[in-house]
């Protein structure tokens, strides 16, 4: 068959092949891929949707170029199941050659992917999961969400300063819940307060009524709550039925319970509730106003919550790291570039702690109020630059 080709034909064929193949080769060189693994179906689907929307918004606003490279995002749905998360992470590494993996809606999912990040030497940007230990699972993990202890300790301080002496805690029985309980109980006890009981409700299909009744019977000054975002509405409905206010029991919680995405559906019973969190849709800053307006314009039925912020800032961090390495995608260099990075996020000033690779950020004490016909968490106190208390305590020992 080759004999039949004339020299001219051969040259022509070569030229065509060169034209077709070269741009592909150049393009492959200039594309940096980041794999985002989040639950988009199943019970934690809202986490995935918020993160996806935020990342798309970020790329729409800032373009798809960073450090001279085109950034391509690949979304994967792990349905909230850890072994699927792990496989998807592995496939993204070996098939798509991603420069980083990101997302991770729940603690076990982030932990399942940790060995892959270590083995492949690429950054794992945790955008949602909130247990302290996560960043210790691999030297390549960087977090842009929050830790439960980080949100909880300022709330315990607030409680002590506001005459709350006796408390009962009720948390979801898994990593983040136990972190929140420990942080709250330790702080209250250290401040001379009294913990009457620490209750834990199962994570899956919880029935809160018996726990709430028990808490009420103990007559504390305040009941502290934590459940993961998504279960807040169900919990608050049962809290409302118990009428804690009649017995002068304050109900306080981490911001997961009054998740901005669900808050409007909870009704007037949550009005006045005190929570602590690193982000509220109502955060009063020009950066946040622009962010919320753009987010709601792109997604008319959604309200950005703290999960969206984790995704948005995770992308900002990845872009900034790529700029700093001038497009070098070496995992260790990217993680080094991320350490100590500080910038202004819609949630306020944030930075990555160079020692722990965990996020350092303001935590706000908020109160649920009605504004323009809608419910919002209105911030009234700011605790600046909070580090993860669990790791800070370890470092102090």
């Amino acid at each position: 068959m080759f004999e039949i080709l004339t020299r001219r034909q051969a040259l022509g064929a070569f030229a065509v092949a060169a034209c077709v193949l070269t741009p592909v080769a150049v393009r492959a060189e200039d594309v940096v891929k980041i794999g985002v693994i989040v639950p988009m179906t199943g019970p934690s689907a809202s986490t995935g949707r918020e993160i996806e929307a935020a990342i798309k918004l970020f790329q729409a606003q800032k373009g798809d170029k960073a450090g001279g490279k085109k950034v391509e995002v690949i979304f994967k749905d792990d349905t909230g199941v850890a072994d699927i998360t792990k496989r998807l992470a592995q496939e993204l590494v070996v098939n798509d050659h991603v420069a980083a993996i990101a997302g991770f809606g729940l603690t076990p999912l982030a932990l399942a992917a940790a060995p892959i990040a270590t083995q492949a030497k690429i950054p794992e940007i945790v955008m949602a999961a909130g247990t302290s230990i996560i960043t210790e699972a691999s030297p390549f993990i960087v977090r842009t969400s929050f830790t439960l202890a980080q949100d909880t300790v300022p709330l315990a301080d607030w409680a002590l300063n506001n005459g709350i002496k006796k408390v009962v805690t009720l948390v979801a029985d898994y990593g983040p819940g136990i972190d929140a309980e420990k942080a709250f109980v330790e702080k209250i006890k250290a401040g001379g307060g009294q913990v009457l009981d620490s209750l834990r409700a199962p994570l899956k299909n919880p029935e809160f009524a018996p726990f709430l009744q028990k808490a009420k019977d103990l007559k504390p000054d305040a009941l502290f709550l934590f459940v993961p975002s998504g279960q807040g509405a169900q919990l608050m409905k049962q809290v409302a039925e118990r009428e804690f206010a009649k017995d002068n029991i304050k109900v306080i919680a981490t911001g997961d319970v009054t998740d901005d995405e669900q808050l409007n559906g909870m009704g007037d019973s949550v009005l006045g509730m005190i929570t602590s969190m690193m982000y509220s849709t109502a955060h009063n800053s020009p950066e946040n106003k622009a962010f919320v307006a753009a987010f709601e314009k792109a997604n008319p039925t959604m309200r950005p919550n703290f999960m969206a912020l984790g995704g948005y800032d995770g992308m900002a961090l990845f872009y900034a790291a790529l700029e700093k390495t001038k497009g070098d995608t070496d995992g260790a260099k990217l993680v080094d570039a991320m350490k100590g990075m500080a910038w202004m996020s819609p949630r306020g000033p944030i930075s990555i702690d160079p020692q722990t690779r965990d996020i350092v950020q303001n935590v706000y004490i908020r109160k649920v109020e009605r504004r323009d016909g809608q419910l919002y968490n209105i911030e009234f106190e700011t605790v600046p630059a909070v580090k993860d208390p669990v790791k800070a305590a370890k470092a102090g020992k």
Partner: protein
Amino acid sequence: MTDATATDSRSGTDRAMIYFAERARWRGPEVALWIGAFALAFLFPSRALLFNEVAILALFALSLDLVLGYAGIVSLGHGAFFGLGAYAAGLLAKAGAGAAPLSDPTLGLLFAALVCAAVGYVTSFLVLRGSDLTRLMVTLGVALIFQEIANRMAWLTGGADGLQGVAPANILGMFEFDLYGRNAYLYSLTVLMVLFVFARKIVHSPFGISLRAIKGNSLRAGAIGIPVNRRLNGAYTLGAAYAGVAGALLAQTTAFVSLDVLDFHRSADVMLIVVFGGVGTLYGAVVGAAAFKAMYDVLAAATPQYWEFWLGLVLVLLVLFVRGGVMGLLGAFYARLQRVGGRP
């Protein structure tokens, strides 16, 4: 048996033996299927991780087919044994800290099989106490109890955060679990094939045939002298051990165990797969698992948010319009092909 005529001079027993031998014979497409499965590892190395999941799911479905398709025990809690096997192998590998002998994968499989067989045997007495609906509830209840125990024993299982530090040693002391997942797939597939051949032997053995008799009519089976309950105990125990090995494979190849291995959706998925592939055919489990994962992979890549809708639709259509699942469909096609080919 339509070709057995009245003029046949052989005795009834002989004819029955020939019939069963014929049924147990290996056929061409079966051999091709297994060779093809091994070839996949080299043809599509980039998808080895997905194939690994298929192999594990196929083994799990096979274990349910033994219980459901042959012994006729309807179980909605088969995931309990899958999860138990995963934790057994995971904890053993963790105890060995990545070094033989404790972290040896083969030992892990044996250990998981033994633990699950023991628990399966004990719970089989509970399961046999009722009829279908009761069994459904009992199996479901047992699975829920296991999940809650694993959740409560967080000091051992890691609770809702999952079991960390599962580090299996190299397979047979030689092959490492690589990042591409090829060795993991070949390992899981080999285990699947060995156990499949064994299951095939069992269902064609007198034990397996007596199970079919029990499934057909347990009163009559008892009347002709088959020890019904003992046989069912045995089948349930065997199914539990198989499910445990599947769980152990998952723990070893992902080096991680989360509470999710005991979740209800595992039991429900595997039931779907067996029904989808064809109940009581053994191959239905393998084909069903492959089809289920393939559909998931294609649909989830195309529409990450709505793949469950399409999966549901396909399943409903298949159950409505195809009798005997995929294997029923293939069987009808094969019979037609032979008729067209002019062979008897």
